[in-house]
Symmetry: C2
Subunit: 292 residues, 2 copies
């Protein structure tokens, strides 16, 4: 099987803050692109650039490669396993790739069902946020059949820079959980540090200059620290999605019999943030808990 | 006042894992260097390269610039405020710089006493660990008199890359607290993430490849993650010193009336680590709490 703009119809389901940029790169590379999003208006930018809107079942019948980037595990379930979903309608030998962050166990379930129907499935969640999606610098962590991974690498290369095959089905999702676990506690640290900086009378911008380049340095500190200080809480990555991810990770950790108190604390803080109405803010809004 | 190898006798007190490398750079730049360390054997490398060993009071009388890089706040107090200490014995107009991480309030106290005696004092703690000390790439965060900061910049430049004047006396220490607060929770995240990776059956080296370049990326993940996986718990930065720093930060936070649950959790985990005999391990030993 070859993937190229001449022979491949690409489908993209879920054109939100991440998906629209990822799909845009595929369109820009000359692929024929078919898109679906529950809120149709969110596909408009892509439609203007030449994409075609189709409902999921028709999209599945039209495309030999379908990428999904939706919201919650229940959305992934519905898009793949529903009556009008991908698995019941996809072409034999087509490739389905879920780039949503969703439970490893669900990835295994979809993979099993896909195999039964002669369809290929990869779990390939990403990291890097809206900036990574826009600049095609995402990290993509992939689980599933390795040959299929190699086949679709040209597509991954349009969206990301650091693309790693992690192992059997579910491994991409497990890797993403590892990613979210690091970020979870790091967000706490960035917020607590900048709160301390302000309350102790320091100039927090100067503090960022000092600590960003040393052992405290991190993507979150560099990219989200300044947003906290500016009061810019617009979502790159939604609080509600982060809570979803942390819940998946914690569920999996409990299944494995490991205790992750840092992750537990982060989840409880973000749930507090959700309760005060910040579900649709970016994850940097955790700063509000400290500065209230 | 000018600082150059022709006119400046530099003293360096505290030649442990960090100090010996920092002092070495000053020696390499051609300065006459006088050193003191409680355990004299730890000065030997420097003595072989031409440094001269002196007790603190004599060193104070001999040097016009003295740098301290000792262990705990009580060591800083003794070295500066003790009867045979720096303040009672330093030359008028000499410059004393404490690069130890120690309480902001102690820096203010030393600064006040120094001023009374016609001596200059800067608090200038560092970040970047043993690697930063060795490669002269430390972050140096400085509080105190700005003119004196400008005067000693040539010396700071020998040890660090990111040298920022943060404000009045104590500001360097406050900035270092901001640094440690970020690191504290980040260490939890790195340990929890790698524990999850292993327990979920992933190849943790591959996981690091995936997540190190994205939104989870940090100095700790890149530099200490691989050490955790190799079981290399040798100190760059000691558990016992990290606990000391977190206690200072938490004390200050309480004084300011702010609650930092991430820092509290980190301190409690590291105290647990200390209880099982890991005081002299590197901070990456937190991984042991998860993998036991």
């Amino acid at each position: 099987m070859r993937i190229d703009p001449q022979t491949t119809n690409v489908g993209f389901i879920g054109t939100g803050v991440m998906g629209k940029n990822m799909a845009g790169h595929i369109l820009d590379a000359g692929y024929k692109l078919f898109v679906y999003n529950r809120t149709k208006s969110k596909t408009e930018e892509l439609l203007k650039k030449g994409a075609i809107f189709l409902p999921i079942d028709e999209l599945a019948r039209t495309c030999n490669l379908v990428i999904t980037m939706v919201g919650f595990p229940k959305d992934v379930e519905e898009v793949y396993l529903g009556d009008n979903g991908l698995l019941k309608n996809a072409r034999k030998d087509s490739i389905l790739i879920d780039m949503t962050t969703s439970p490893p166990s669900l990835a295994v379930k979809i993979d099993t069902e896909a195999k039964r129907r002669g369809i290929y499935f990869l779990d390939a969640p990403v990291s890097g946020g809206d900036i990574g999606a826009k600049n095609a610098t995402l990290s993509i962590m992939v689980g599933g059949n390795k040959e299929i991974f190699n086949t679709v690498l040209p597509i991954f290369n349009l969206m990301g820079k650091n693309i790693v095959y992690q192992g059997k089905a579910g491994s991409g999702q497990h890797t993403k959980m590892c990613n979210q676990i690091v970020i979870a506690t790091n967000m706490i640290g960035v917020a607590e540090s900048l709160c301390y900086a302000i309350k102790s009378g320091l100039d927090p911008e100067k503090v960022l200059k000092s600590i960003g380049g040393g052992a405290a340095g991190s993507w979150s500190l560099t990219n989200l620290g300044p947003k906290m200080l500016k009061g810019d809480f617009a979502p790159g990555f939604y609080v509600k999605h982060f809570i979803k991810d942390m819940k998946i990770a914690l569920d999996e950790a409990i299944k494995m019999g490991i205790k992750l108190p840092g992750l537990e604390l982060a989840l409880s803080l973000y749930e507090e943030l959700s309760k005060i109405g910040e579900d649709n803010s970016g994850t940097q809004a955790i700063f509000k808990l400290y500065m209230k």
